[in-house]
Amino acid sequence: MTDSIHAIPRRRALLLAAGAGAALAAPGIARAQTFPERPITLLVPFATGGYNDRLARAMAPFVQKHIGQPVTVVNRPGGGTVLGNTFYMQQPDDGYMVMVHSAGPYIPLSILTRNARYKADDFHMINLPSRDLTLAACATSKGINSIDEVVQRLKADPRSLSIGVQPASADLINMALWMQAHGIDRSRVRVVTYDGGGPARTATAGGHVDVGFVGGEGFLPIKDRIKPLLLFSDEKSTDYPDAPLLTDHARAAGFQPQSVDGSQRGFVVLKRFVAAQPERYAILLRAIEAATKDPECVSTLGNQQLATTWYGPEASNRAYLSSAALMERYADLLKQA
């Protein structure tokens, strides 16, 4: 009796082994050509309507055109992308789901400040076309004329100006490094925290706080109400051509400029998948590259203020990992908002 019970599983195991053997024996190219054989999902770890969501939805028809399968967008917001990232880690490595993500700073930040269980290195960037930079700005009604004036007043009395910023953000790191460089005691400055870029911008434009440190892109619709004081970048921005740059500001003040990108957004997969399914990864990479460079895509997305620059995996991963490393280095700055 025991034999008969065991017999079935053994036979099943044999069949399974045979099947697996057959799959392994099948030529890799033949298998690769069947991918993708069902729709691809773009996973956005944010709610509908944000930059990543718009980017994913705008790119979807072009990726679809170049990969030959329908492409749909799914949102899984929450927990500063922890929920979306964790969900993505649980998916099979079959290449049917690709993230559209503000990988930097959200992945490293969620690890440093929300104890997420994945590592920055678990993710692989296909292309990060969009970057957003921290902008220090004040309401035009505030009568603050320059960043030097802000430095002067904060140096004379750290309590003289209130500063609005998001906790656990690249903006906070940039603000902290900037204050450190000027020898301003951050613990004495009146730092007001906002749980989101939107509220921080409203508070800046409404003059609730004197100066706001927050991603510059979101300020564009209310550009007329704010005065850009300092852009945390080393190159001129087309959005804020008149904003002083951190590099120039630092040179004048005599310190080494250091900053992290506010957001690096684009297509992300898991490193695990790249290693396990190199052919499928190559197909995805080719399709996303072709879609990004598609002239129709470039013009459509350009009209929607969405970026379509092709940096490729190598440059994108380098940018992502270096900003993740910087954030890790300054992790303690994040913990004392």
């Binding site: 309507g49 925290t193 409404g206 203020q305």
Partner: protein, 505 residues
């Protein structure tokens, strides 16, 4: 302030385009249906249809989305009145008097009153938007943490002890609500009470928690009943009585106008919106009423106050979005996304350069309010057949739908789990005479008050006297203290008079 040439152009734009009109009724119906399903919020209904708008022209797309917005704003009130479960978080205060009315067999009147107050609320809010969009946006932008904290505290004081057998039990329940509302990451980035569960990083999911609390306390109480309306002769569905309910609204113009203004104003404040507006409006209506005890027992004025405020917040948040480009909440964020999908950046420049389009959107919303009156009446007429459904069918269906809604809104099992945990809490609380509504109020207002107070404290750098630099906030708090003092004195006098009367007898 009205640009007449642009107004004319807007009329032409709407008059000459069938596209701009064919989406209104489908939009309203989608909104009504999703709004009425417990757990699907206004912004979620809009998010669901957002991808479809990619294939429309700009104006029809925005009109379609605002139709869904308008429809969902009222849709949430239907289950609030009929089964005491707000379909959206904006309809919480609607349950306070709407459901008692339904229980008395006044469901037709209650739904009629809710519909008419909603339609008029939308109308008034868009009239204000039409005339005062710029000044309103300017005022709203100045409202900082001090003012918001004061408004939130006012709301909590007005409603903290709602519907309970005693004030202490009410305050205890509100305290539990506030505590639950502060779970998750606070605005300064500190985690509290998340117990290591990633689903709690953003706090307790409000809508499943709210549905759980209200549904469970209600449905368990109904276990021995056979129908929502006990008296069989009153279980009628009558168009005449729905219209008569609408008539009630016209008989209370003060409640209607007060609610609409509160709704426009609070709805316009970024990050606050209709779920707070309906509570504050209800609280105010109850405070100024000569007969506050009748509230919560089926006073149509409470229903009118709640409904006019939650609907008029739509116009308020549209004002902030159009004049400043700032999304006040989820719904306007989706509208802005749709703008972006059509290569349009919302904000002051859009308003200046495309005044005709803005007017077309506003005029279309006037029309939507009127069309909602018709579509809504038909919808309500069908929906109110619920009162004829035996509870042994209704209760399980509602539970299943709430669970699915909770799953839909969270996109994970965290929603249903929250629903069940809070259902048990709600049942326990109501079993021992604690007002469940006060927990919901605490849950909704607690987070707001905590966030704003913390920012106020940061802004002051720890100096309590800094509040003196915010006269509006001080004004609100003083007004609150005075009004509390007055109502306390009134209560004491009334009690004395009662005592004297009973002593004489």
């Amino acid at each position: 302030m009205i640009d007449f040439p642009a107004f004319g152009a807007a009329l032409n734009m709407l008059g000459g385009s069938l596209d701009a009109w064919i989406w209104v009724v489908p939009g309203l119906l989608i909104g009504l249906l999703f709004g009425a399903l417990p757990g699907i919020s206004v912004s979620m209904a809009m998010a669901l249809v957002l991808p479809a708008t990619l294939y429309m022209d700009f104006l029809p797309a925005i009109i379609f989305l605002t139709s869904v917005y308008t429809g969902a704003g009222f849709g949430g009130s239907i289950p609030a009145v009929l089964i005491n479960i707000p379909g959206t978080s904006s309809a919480v205060a609607t349950t306070f008097d709407g459901y008692p009315m339904a229980q008395k067999g006044l469901h037709n009147e209650a739904l009629g009153a809710a519909l008419v107050s909603s339609c008029i609320g939308v109308l008034i809010s868009y009239v204000i938007l039409f005339v005062l969009v710029q000044p309103l946006a300017e005022i709203v932008l100045r409202i900082g943490p001090y003012e918001m904290a004061a408004i939130g505290i006012w709301g909590l004081v007005l409603l903290g002890s709602i519907g309970g057998s005693s004030v202490t039990k009410g305050l205890f329940a509100a305290g539990i609500g506030v505590l639950c509302g502060t779970v998750g990451m606070n605005t300064a980035g500190y985690m509290r009470g998340d117990m290591g569960i990633p689903w709690l990083l953003d706090g307790v999911p409000t809508i499943p928690a709210m549905v759980g609390l209200l549904a469970a306390s209600q449905l368990f109480a109904l276990v021995n009943a056979k129908f929502i309306v006990a008296d069989e002769s009153k279980r009628t569905i009558s168009l005449r009585r729905i219209i008569a309910g609408g008539g009630l609204v016209l008989g209370s113009p003060v409640a209607l106008l007060r609610g609409s203004f509160i709704g426009v104003f609070i709805g316009a404040v970024p990050g606050v919106g209709s779920s707070i507006a309906n509570l504050i409006s209800y609280g105010e209506a109850r405070r100024v009423s000569p007969d506050p005890e009748s509230y919560g027992k089926g006073n149509p004025r409470g229903l009118i106050a709640a409904e006019s405020a939650n609907s008029s917040s739509e116009g308020g948040s549209m004002a902030t979005m159009l004049a400043l480009g700032i999304p006040g909440g989820g719904a306007t964020a989706i509208l802005l996304a749709s703008f972006a999908m059509h290569n349009v950046i919302g904000g002051p420049r859009f308003m200046e350069q495309n005044r005709d389009i803005v007017y077309a959107i506003i005029i279309s919303n006037f029309a939507q309010a009127l069309i909602l009156l018709l579509v809504g009446t038909a919808f309500v007429f069908v929906a109110s057949t619920v009162v004829r459904l035996p509870l042994r069918y209704l209760i399980p269906s509602v539970l299943v739908m709430s669970t699915m809604g909770a799953f839909a809104i969270e996109g994970s099992i965290a929603g249903p789990i929250t629903l069940f945990v809070f259902a048990v809490l709600g049942w326990l609380m109501s079993r021992y005479g604690f007002p469940v509504a006060a927990i919901v109020v605490g849950l909704l207002l607690g987070k707001l008050i905590e966030t704003e107070l913390l920012r106020a404290w940061q802004l002051a750098g720890g100096d309590p006297l800094y509040i003196l630099e915010h006269p509006v906030a001080v004004g609100i708090l003083v007004l609150m203290a005075v009004s509390l003092g007055l109502s306390l004195r009134r209560d004491i006098r009334r009690r004395r008079a009662l005592k004297a009367a009973s002593a004489v007898a």
